[in-house]
């Protein structure tokens, strides 16, 4: 087993894709870096924290992007965002079997503020364009920084999300919520609470991700291959179903009325047997708890 969480973006790609199949676009040697970081005296990365290109996965052509969580928390700046948008627009033109997005990001790169915000929204539109062209967008989430902010929204615009139990998918990080509304609202140091709220097991049980895997690159590869033919067109019907599903969640009572822990309450309400055991169960046991 090779821990997906402990790999860098480049290491993940090397292990995930068919051997020697990856061709990088706008590679580091082209030095397309962020002028905004330099202006703030922050060191650049030669690839601005995202690796993009073309490869094969089980011999099928895929376009891939991998965000480097260790650089600026994987935050999206002007160049980083434009690399993603370029990749997605190229996918619309060249029609690969799928687009794979190895997402690890805090969302908008705050050091690039406005440019980052506009960039993330351009990525969002581009993902929806690719999806509407019938090309599946598959997001893999398993890095230690999780997938947050605008990228948390982008991920849910994709056809298919694969998460490990180590991964997290959400909008605002626990620290931001704690800073805003206090530790009673969200104790960001309570790791169990953080993972019950935003982690892979929780997202699997609620259906917010489509596959749950171990923290193992081979498992991610297998799940990505399985997702290759699972394009899910966004029809009015699909959106109505999604709307009903999400509207149901508003009926979950607040934590005080939910026997202390609203995550456990929610899982039980979704039909999960033995909901309080969830945090201690292994991934394959958790997988079995949800109706596919």
């Amino acid at each position: 087993m090779i821990s997906y969480a402990e790999c860098s973006a480049r290491e993940r790609l090397a292990q995930l894709l068919d051997a020697d199949s990856f061709k990088e676009w706008v590679p580091p040697v082209e030095r397309v870096t962020s002028p905004h970081l330099t202006q703030l005296s922050v060191p650049c990365a030669f690839d601005d924290g995202v690796v993009i290109g073309r490869a094969t996965l089980a011999d099928r052509t895929v376009f891939v992007a991998a965000q480097e969580g260790a650089f600026m928390g994987g935050g999206v700046g002007e160049v980083h965002g434009a690399k993603l948008v370029g990749l997605l627009r190229r996918a619309q033109r060249d029609r690969p079997a799928a687009v794979l997005l190895l997402a690890e990001s805090g969302g908008v790169r705050l050091h690039e503020a406005n440019a980052g915000l506009i960039a993330v929204s351009e990525v969002m539109r581009a993902v929806l364009d690719v999806r509407s062209a019938g090309i599946p967008v598959i997001v893999l989430i398993g890095g230690s920084n999780g997938c947050f902010g605008g990228m948390g929204i982008v991920a849910r615009c994709a056809d298919h999300i694969v998460m490990s139990d180590v991964g997290r998918l959400a909008m605002s990080g626990p620290e931001v919520i704690e800073a805003s509304h206090g530790v009673e609202e969200f104790d960001s140091r309570d790791r169990a609470l953080v993972w019950r709220t935003t982690g892979g097991k929780h997202r699997w049980l609620t259906g917010d991700c489509d596959a749950l895997v171990e923290d193992d690159v081979a498992a991610f590869r297998e799940a990505a291959i399985a997702a290759l033919d699972k394009a899910q067109p966004l029809t009015l019907d699909a959106l109505e179903k999604e709307h009903d599903l999400l509207a149901q969640r508003l009926h979950i009572p607040p934590a005080e009325d939910a026997g202390g822990d609203d995550a456990t309450f929610l899982w039980r309400a979704l039909g999960v047997a033995d909901a309080q055991a969830v945090p201690d169960l292994a991934v394959d046991a958790i997988r079995a708890l949800r109706n596919q």
Partner: protein, 110 residues
């Protein structure tokens, strides 16, 4: 304005007397995170090993020179450009990445 960062420090070094590395695909190792650095090696015209370091940890020029001297002693290269983006890595980590980068030229998997 005294707490405004003074800027990144750029350090340039050049070494001669190395063995030609020949043509090779550019190599990148490491990530630009706190206490870390990325090292890129690419072929260069000429017979020198040319090094440029951009670092947020200012004032360590003499340590960088020592580390690069040692590196050139271990791997005397000619016709190579070494480019580094550094966020405060220790000399040990810098040396490790440099050696990893050289290993990749010499046939390690990228």
């Amino acid at each position: 304005m005294s707490d405004v960062p003074a800027g990144l420090e750029t350090l340039d070094f050049s070494f001669s007397g190395g063995r030609p590395a020949g043509t090779f695909a550019p190599v990148l190792v490491g990530v630009v995170g706190s206490g870390n650095l990325e090292v890129m090696l690419e072929p260069a015209v000429g017979r020198d090993c040319i090094v440029r370091v951009e670092t947020s940890a200012r004032g360590f020029g003499s340590i960088w020179r020592a580390v690069m001297n040692d590196f050139h002693g271990r791997h005397p290269l000619a016709g190579v450009r070494v480019s580094i983006n550094d966020m405060g890595a220790t000399p040990a980590v810098v040396s490790l990445r440099l050696d990893q980068a050289v290993a990749e030229i010499k046939g390690g998997r990228t």
